[in-house]
Amino acid sequence: MANILIDQLSISFPLYHGESRSLKKTVFAAASGRLGEDRSHRLVVQALRDISFTLNRGDRLGLIGSNGAGKTTLLRAMAGIYEPTAGTVTLNGAVTALLDPGQGMNLELTGRENIRLRGLYSGLADTQIKQLQSDVADFAGLGHFLELPVKTYSSGMIVRLGFALATAIKPQILLMDEWILAGDASFLDKARHRLETMVRGAEVLVLSSHSADIIMQWCNRVIWMDNGEVRADGPPLDILEAYLPPEQFAAAKAAAARMAA
């Protein structure tokens, strides 16, 4: 059974590249109150502070919060990219993270070569890689562009390739950042269809987004991140109502209803 357990997770980023520490310290400390020192007196930014929650099968979590609230860091920690400074992350099930459109793709290589690399990363055999290539080619609809270096793609094409690639190998846990919204409308429909097939298979989805109507449509639980901490956790409508100004909330609700119809 796929699930995620986050237990007292804290992450702090070291600040190494500053020249004048004391100046930086004063400025940042005044600005956010999130700056601290670790045991060896290095200057750190506390990106996540003491976060605990559990996600079970079928949970579709939306992460909301202002820029710099720690949403992407939390996704990276869940993906196992950032190792916690304190606490633990336990992942039951195969994880795929769509954190940025490039997704570790080598822009100099062709789309086909990048798909092959991803297949090898997932430990696929040669025949499965062939299947993966044709599946991704179909879904992303890139045609002959698949034989060209990824750097020649438009940003929308990169998004399509990245999404197709990440969802072609069925993950049990899918972590997504908001860049998926960069796709055009017809692609968003396709993406939604594909995600829904996946989520219907009772997998776990975590989506970080600024778009309230997408969260209303896709998620059944929302966590509001604020200053690296969980400010609120509950059903989407309740949390969004508290998070958004009333007129924006009403507009998002109407948009979501329109999309669902």
Binding site: A2, S10, F13, P14, Y16, R76, A77, A79, G80, I81, Y82, E83, P84, T85, A86, G87, T88, V89, T90, L91, N92, G93, A94, V95, A97, L99, D100, G102, Q103, G104, M105, N106, E108, L109, E113, R116, L117, L120, Y121, S122, G123, L124, Q128, Q131, L132, D135, D138, F139, G141, G143, A168, I169, K170, P171, Q172, S186, K190, H193, R194, T197
Partner: protein, 299 residues
């Protein structure tokens, strides 16, 4: 372009098919004890071993990419080494008053080996910082990036070996039976290459001044180490003893070069080589175990 909706029945490639055990939970805990750090570092290395087809493909693509669109492709590697060995060989054999037939085989091995050493140190420094977008996009064993640098340069070395073979053939040099010791020497070089790129990669990710510093150090080391000149050439000036006796590069190069050229090997060359390797592995292991959880934050 037609919109083809995915057929959920057909396109399922699941991770469990992919040879991963989905039932095994991954537990990522803050590494606070040495025991925990050592365990995760060993897991990292084991995972790298499991992913060797990926490393192989990455390395092949690295080389192919470097020469994509060029007429000769990777054979530029062979050709440029051949030109270098030929030009310097004839020039320096005159400058040093050496016999070309003796000097050229010596120079070909030396330059090819040094090419490997300097590429490993230069590319090792940036092995993590250059893979930044991969490291930040998915969970991946970090030692994979150092392994990729080593494997890629072994492929380069393979292209350059052709030059040595041709030079040996021209001068009719047949390595004796005693040269089988290059096989353990290669093993030692492999260990050293991995350890040094891991070590330099970590320092290079943390301190961005490391790559240029290593570059200059290696430049000096190239002139100080008997690469273009052999110790016997300068023996009469009493210079070589200083440069040779405490030079780790000399011992390591000598255990490869000596047997192939049929030169008698100083007995301590192997002793020192193994000693240097041991120290390097210990240092690199220590740094890797300590710094591994932080690398993703540094790149």
């Amino acid at each position: 372009m037609n919109v083809i909706a995915p057929d959920p029945g057909k396109t399922d490639i699941t991770m469990s098919q992919a040879g991963r055990a989905p039932s095994a939970p991954i537990r990522i805990a803050a590494a606070t004890t040495w025991g925990g750090r050592i365990t995760t570092a060993v897991q990292d290395l084991a995972e790298t071993l499991r992913l060797w087809p990926l490393i192989w493909t990455l390395s092949v693509l690295d080389i192919r990419l470097r020469y994509r669109g060029s007429l000769l492709g990777p054979f530029w590697l062979t050709l440029s080494t051949a030109i270098m060995v030929g030009a310097i060989g004839f020039l320096y054999s005159h400058l040093f008053h050496q016999n070309v037939a003796a000097y050229l085989p010596f120079l070909s091995i030396s330059l090819v080996l040094w090419g490997f050493v300097s590429a490993i140190t230069a590319e090792g420094c940036v092995c993590f910082s250059q893979s930044e977008n991969m490291i930040r996009a998915m969970r991946m064993p970090l030692s994979l990036h150092a392994t990729r640098v080593v494997l890629r340069n072994i492929f380069v070395l393979g292209h350059n070996l052709v030059v040595i073979i041709v030079v040996f053939a021209i001068f009719r040099i047949v390595p004796s039976m005693a040269s089988f010791t290059v096989i353990p020497a290669c093993a030692l070089w492999l260990i050293d290459a991995l350890a040094i790129s891991l070590l330099l990669g970590i320092f290079g990710a943390r301190y961005r001044d490391i790559p240029p510093i290593i570059g200059s150090v290696m430049q000096i080391a190239f002139y100080l180490t008997p690469i273009m000149w052999s110790p016997t050439m300068l023996a009469h000036r009493g210079l070589s003893a200083v440069l040779v006796e405490w030079n780790p590069f000399f011992d390591l190069v000598e255990i490869m070069r000596g047997p192939l050229l049929g030169h008698p090997l100083e007995p301590q060359a192997w002793l020192f080589s193994i000693g240097y390797t041991g120290l390097l592995v210990l240092l690199s292991g220590f740094v890797f175990i300590r710094a591994r959880p932080r690398i993703a934050y540094w790149v």
